[in-house]
């Protein structure tokens, strides 16, 4: 599948934003987040920035961005529509939570309920994003049980390192946030490994379906393509990356998304002050590049079944 940069930026940036929002909300509920209003402003402000930037970027890949509002209407059947509705709905509890914290310096009582709602809506939005891909039987690489967990756990992992970075300015990047972050990274590592394992065992190529119904007559070779130049279907669905390049990029993504941040977190456990911030910054930068690579691969490694009509092999 063609990796569109606007969609890669959207899923990674908004994912990190929803992850950060979840971390801040949960930390507030657990009464371990820094209570300083400035922490609320910076952390929730960055989450809003990432979420909004991502959502705006996602409209860049539309043919008719000015009609994007119409995408809210079909939540009964469409995961893309559900994602849109949930993304907008998340702004309400998250916005009220932020206003109460920053302007009234209160995060307790009714406000903690808003924090809980914001976290739930954020996770539900990322779940919908994953389901857009996981619900497509035409793309076997995505139509597997690990696609949705990958989206959720990577949102939490990227939001987690951002949380540590901001909290480090308020002496909040210690004890349990570090420990929980390490656990999330380990879970993310395992889940992404499972995703790739499933892909490699039997999801790398589309199923050998009776695409032409001529399969019983023997081997099928395309001798006359329908057109001389690539059409939309070939440009959009025909993009695929060579196996050996993919393996290199997988290792790079794993190192940057998991190994580097995990190492930084272990070092943060024994350092303090400016060193903690610096390590959190390194972890964030590594996570950003790693996540971008992972998301690019998510598209580039996925093969669409319609390409069998153009002579691509099926499994």
């Amino acid at each position: 599948m063609h990796p569109a940069y606007s969609v890669i930026f959207f899923t990674t940036a908004s994912g990190a934003g929803y992850g950060l929002l979840t971390w801040v909300a949960v930390a507030t509920l657990a009464r371990t987040a820094p209570t300083d209003w400035r922490f609320g402003l910076i952390s929730l402000g960055l989450a809003f920035l990432l979420i909004t930037g991502g959502l705006l970027s996602s409209t860049a890949h539309l043919g008719r961005p000015e009609r994007a509002w119409r995408a809210m209407s079909q939540w009964r059947s469409s995961w893309l529509s559900r994602e849109g509705v949930l993304a907008i709905a998340t702004y309400v509890p998250a916005g009220l939570f932020g206003i109460a914290w920053v302007f009234f310096e209160t995060t307790s009582g009714f406000i903690s309920l808003l924090a809980l709602l914001a976290a739930l809506f954020a996770i539900a939005t990322v779940y919908s994003t994953g389901m857009i891909y996981a619900s497509l039987p035409t793309i076997k690489a995505w139509h597997q049980p690990w696609t949705v967990p990958v989206y959720i756990v990577l949102a939490l992992a990227s939001g987690g390192v951002l949380y540590l970075l901001i909290a480090s300015f308020f002496d909040g990047a210690n004890s349990w946030p570090l420990l929980l972050n390490a656990l999330v990274l380990a879970a993310a590592f395992a889940i992404k490994r499972f995703y790739w394992q499933t892909l490699d065992t039997d999801h790398a190529l589309p199923m050998r379906y009776a695409a032409t119904g001529l399969e019983h007559l023997g081997r099928i070779r395309q001798i006359e393509p329908p057109h001389t130049q690539e059409n939309f279907v070939m440009r959009e669905m025909g993009y695929s990356i060579a196996r050996k390049h993919a393996e290199k990029l997988r290792r790079l993504a794993m190192a940057l998304m998991f190994a580097a941040p995990a190492l930084c977190i272990v070092m943060m456990m024994v350092t303090g002050g400016f060193a903690t911030t610096l390590l959190a910054l390194i972890a964030t930068a590594a996570m950003a590049v790693g996540l971008f690579t992972e998301r690019w691969l998510f598209f580039a490694e996925a093969r669409h079944i319609s390409m069998v009509y153009y002579g691509q092999q099926a499994a």
Binding site: G63, R70, G84, Y209, L214, L217, I220, Q222, P226, H227
Partner: protein
């Protein structure tokens, strides 16, 4: 509304005979010609006279070689929207621009509300939808909805442009929901089949398989071509060889 109708009154669709399609592309060009002025108008043509001419077409014809050696055969394979009974291209649409008509089962895109997110093309296993980058919306076969009910046309022209254009009669149009229709009878008689039935999209369009060869002598064995008399050198022989060659061409 992208939820699917529970049933449709008719199941209008095509039956494509792979036994007699000769791959002439008349259906594809006729489709393009009609639809660039019809419901989906215009269909983009990008760089038409340059090095990379491409654009939106609603019908594509592949040429396949099937089987090995003497048993191999050429099969021309037209591919367009199959107007499925349970099309995921409709249910994934976030705006309601994609829909399946309750009255006749035709799957359409409303070009005024499509946002061009392309998700429907991802959901279609048949590669039948083509995005029109000039207009930022998705294009697809309309089953010539602007012909089949068009009372300004003569009766015989109220069929899809591809069916009207086919010079070999390889394309048939009708109501596949009516077991007594000509197309349904044809499908029953020739064992018409669905493409990728495993995916459960329940295509309306059916394909008729190539007929088996009658026997080994009629289809492939041509009478041996007579070898021209070899030129051996003498003038008279060369003359006869030349005359033989001239007369046999």
């Amino acid at each position: 509304m992208t939820c699917l109708p529970e049933t449709t009154n008719k199941k209008l669709g095509l039956v494509i005979d792979l036994d007699i399609c000769v791959g002439c592309q008349a259906c594809a060009t006729s489709c393009k010609e009609w639809n660039t002025g019809g419901y989906s108008a215009p269909l983009s043509d990008i760089d038409p006279y340059g090095a990379d001419p491409h654009g939106a077409w609603l019908n594509r014809i592949h040429g396949y070689e099937v089987g090995e050696g003497d048993a191999s055969r050429t099969v021309h394979f037209p591919r367009s929207c199959l107007h499925c009974e349970t099309p995921a291209c409709v249910t994934v649409c976030p705006t309601g621009a994609s829909y399946k008509r309750e009255e006749d089962g035709i799957v359409l895109v409303n070009p005024d509300t499509c946002i061009g997110c392309k998700l429907c093309s991802w959901a279609c296993p048949y590669g039948a939808r083509e995005y029109d980058s000039n207009h930022g919306v998705m294009k697809k076969c309309t089953l010539c909805v602007d012909r089949i009910y068009n009372e300004h046309l003569e009766e015989r022209d109220r069929i899809p442009a591809c069916v009207r254009a086919c010079p070999t009669g390889a394309r048939h149009y009708g109501d596949l929901g009516d077991p007594d229709s000509d197309v349904s009878k044809l499908v029953a008689e020739r064992q018409g089949y669905d493409l990728m039935p495993e995916l459960g999209y329940k295509p309306t369009n059916k394909y008729l398989p190539p007929r088996p060869r009658r026997d080994g002598t009629t289809a492939t064995n041509q009478p041996a071509v007579e070898q021209p008399a070899p030129a051996t050198g003498t003038t008279i022989e060369n003359f006869f060889a030349w005359a033989d060659k001239m007369l046999s061409t």
